[in-house]
Symmetry: C3
Subunit: 363 residues, 3 copies
């Protein structure tokens, strides 16, 4: 039997794939039903993200360690990237920036917090390799700091937009260079430090290469199509649900985009493989800061209606900094309990509440 069909049969999440044709049809038939289209597109993106994730791992498993690691690292946030690119093309820069910040916050606070909580409810104290975790948390922290610098400096000085834009461009190039070097570091010179996090994503059998590549291509196209519906409908749907644009970008988009990682992170935590959970959560957040965010800035010069800067609204800067400091803090000791998870989730919940209550003019 086709491994793809077998996978679909065994994995209830993939049954949601049925919503992919539904949402595309609905968009043709009822283009004004924004709330419906929003819900349908969320339901369609979740299984596509899971497919993308599995296909990437299968290709990675077949192509050997170095290329595979590269693929995993580059395509790990493909769903987030495609959604952000769609929003970028539509000129919705506020949504793009919110989704960047939201992905960092969600990965560090929600993914990590929920992993610690779920793991901690089953295991009294969980230990994980704190040297690895510290390397990754350090990488994330410094990456995030670099990402935040234009916002901090620009705000502090009420500088001209032109200055911020030039700075963002130069910084995007620097961040991508740092990302390239981080690949050399984690895949080549010091791969042993990242060993446990990169290896064996929980015993799924990889697909044949042809099928994996075809799935990768097909799912990417479908995510792109569905993202278009999602991005178009999300603002009006937000209004209908009484949500602020900031809440949608930071919380809803980030949770939808990160659906695929959640499954892996949580199941690893329950199995007491916290190294893997911490590795995926922090690695994914680093990738957003070092690769996805600067790539979007560069791409905005080609695809967007105007260049996009790296200047975030002040509240987002505070949240991103708090999230990465929290991530450093909770992974620093190499031990976790359920209450550490509760605290991280509390901070996340506070952010969510704040964004939900925010007056609609902001940001």
């Amino acid at each position: 039997m086709n491994p793809l069909l077998r996978e679909i049969r065994h994995n209830p999440v993939l049954w949601l794939l049925a919503f992919v044709p539904v949402v595309l049809a609905a968009e043709q038939l009822r283009p004004e039903a924004h709330t419906l289209l929003f819900v349908l597109s969320v339901l369609a993106i979740v299984p596509l993200a899971a497919l993308l994730s599995h296909a990437t791992e299968s290709v990675a498993a077949k192509t050997g360690d170095a290329v595979g690691g590269l693929l995993n690292a580059t395509l790990g946030n493909l769903t987030e990237l495609v959604i952000a690119l769609t929003a970028l093309r539509a000129g919705q820069y506020t949504l793009v920036k919110a989704s960047i910040g939201g992905a960092i916050v969600t990965n560090t606070l929600f993914l990590l917090g929920a992993a610690f909580l779920l793991g901690g409810l089953k295991h009294h104290v969980q230990e994980f390799n704190r040297v690895n975790a510290r390397v990754q948390a350090g990488l994330l922290f410094l990456a995030t700091l670099a990402l935040m610098i234009p916002s901090a400096v620009s705000q502090a000085d009420f500088a001209a937009a032109e200055f911020t834009q030039t700075l963002s461009l130069v910084l995007a190039v620097l961040l991508i260079v740092a990302y390239g070097l981080s690949m050399v570091f984690s895949l080549k010179t010091h791969r042993e430090m990242f060993a446990s996090a990169g290896s064996g994503e929980a015993g799924e059998t990889p697909w044949p290469l042809g099928l994996a590549l075809a799935t990768l291509a097909g799912a990417t196209v479908l995510v792109a199509l569905v993202s278009e519906v999602f991005v178009e409908s999300v603002q009006q749907a937000a209004v209908a649900f009484g949500m602020t644009p900031a809440f949608v970008g930071f919380i809803v988009v980030a949770l939808v985009g990160g659906a695929a990682e959640m499954a892996s992170v949580f199941s690893a935590a329950r199995k007491n493989h916290l190294d893997l959970s911490v590795g995926i959560a922090l690695g994914s957040a680093s990738q957003i800061a070092l690769f996805v965010a600067p790539l979007l800035v560069l791409v905005s010069y080609v695809l967007g209606p105007s260049p996009m800067s790296l200047q975030f609204w002040p509240g987002a800067v505070v949240m991103i900094l708090v999230a990465t400091i929290t991530a450093s803090m909770v992974t620093n000791g190499g031990r976790s309990t359920w209450f550490v998870g509760v605290l991280a989730l509390m901070v996340y919940l506070t952010f969510a509440v704040t964004l939900y209550l925010l007056p609609p003019r902001i940001p």
Copy 2:
């Protein structure tokens, strides 16, 4: 002989109890002598705080570990709570907020710093259980971050007062839920982590239950009465002494309210029981952030002239953050020397000087 009287005879601090009737009488006779009333009320609160602390421990010792721990954790900052409630009822929200921030800053910088200094002058290097200290410093840090969020976001966006108020209310509920969960964590599921900090507050013999309960009730009533004099007189006395309201709230009220803890923390440090010192100082600060502060917000809806928010003035936010970062930093390594204490005290002194010099309009 009555254990209370024996205690009073042996403990010179309790001789200050003589000032309790004096201040209450003075308030009737010379209600306009603010400076005198201020000094007398400070002298009266200090022994009452010591009594409250001893009575709480005695009740806790009698009622067994779980209930006792709960009592200790809830009533540990009873003096601070009663003073703040009195200020709240008088509508002095600036004083209430300053006393919350000041209690966190005083516990982390002054109590911890002086403990390290006093202990370090006697012992070359002092070691303490750094796993426990890290759990507590982490708890404090995340609690403080959550407490600071409305200030950070509100300032960043110059948002409407209504938004800040709603956010403060929701946040107060979240913090109290987190406080409840922290009790489950520290008293039930992971009590072994907090073992050394909770146990045996330096070998005092507990009082009989009846006496302890009566003392607890009586001292609370007296603290409430004296607090009223203190809160009424503190502003005018501050003017007379050339102190700013911010200095009074942050430094004077916090030192008066924390007098009882000081004795335990310092004597434990001299005896090289730094685990106990660190536990009391950080635990007390966490309790202010997770329990006292949100409780005051909730109570302000009932007792206060208008609802109180969790928005602090920017300088207080900076000080609280610096204090908790410093606490994380100095307890991170699990070792301490006298100079670490000096540095923490230096930061505290800097804050005190800043607040003292502040132009009187601020905050």
Copy 3:
């Protein structure tokens, strides 16, 4: 043969001493050729800084441990101090403050980052004594916090200049007291903690005391003379090179002033003596914060046209805080790899780019 001449023959950096007479002559002959004078003065300061450094160590080696350590600690940043004093006398307070901030940032990000990178390219993982590193990073962090407080509080409250000035003066005194206590700590009560960092600066033979003292005096006078040319020409040269004043102060002055330390730090890192590298870099940064900065404030009352405050522009505050947090972070684990160096250098590069692109009005 005279040890000074032998040293000059063997150390190509000292050949640049030929530029000392050249720059002094050029200043007489072509006082309006600012760009030329700037380049010549940079070329002349570098070998003088190296001479000063060697002479200080020689005196320290001869005078025994306690006095020697004191000398090393006080004169370690003599070049920076002389340059800053010259700028202070000329009333260029923006340059003075930028050079203070720049020295902290350069020592923590550039020196440390380049040491980790250069060491890491030769050694797979470098370990260093993390207890020492933590003590020093903690000292630096708290010192920097204290230094930043007037800026943070003043900005937050848009307070009067008079308040900031008084606060700066009091704080300068407090910082110098803390510096004195840090000497007692590191040279007397806990010298064993700093042992590896203070001892044997890489096997150079010390000069005879007379020669060392004469060199110390002579080089200081020459640095003072050349600094005058440097400070006078730097602003116009900056304009000619298209550099902002902020970039010149933060980056150029700091790199020129720190030239002497670089050689020691980098060569120790290559030889896998990271303890020494970390010790010099963090120690030098602490000294700027605890001693040079407050000394300049005090001296400004005597030498400057008006008192100088400790209020930095907001962007500088952000950079200094980020730099010291990064220093804590990268030295926390006691291990380093080349990529950690890359990250610290990246943050430094980001700051440099930001300052270079800053609109010229700022700060």
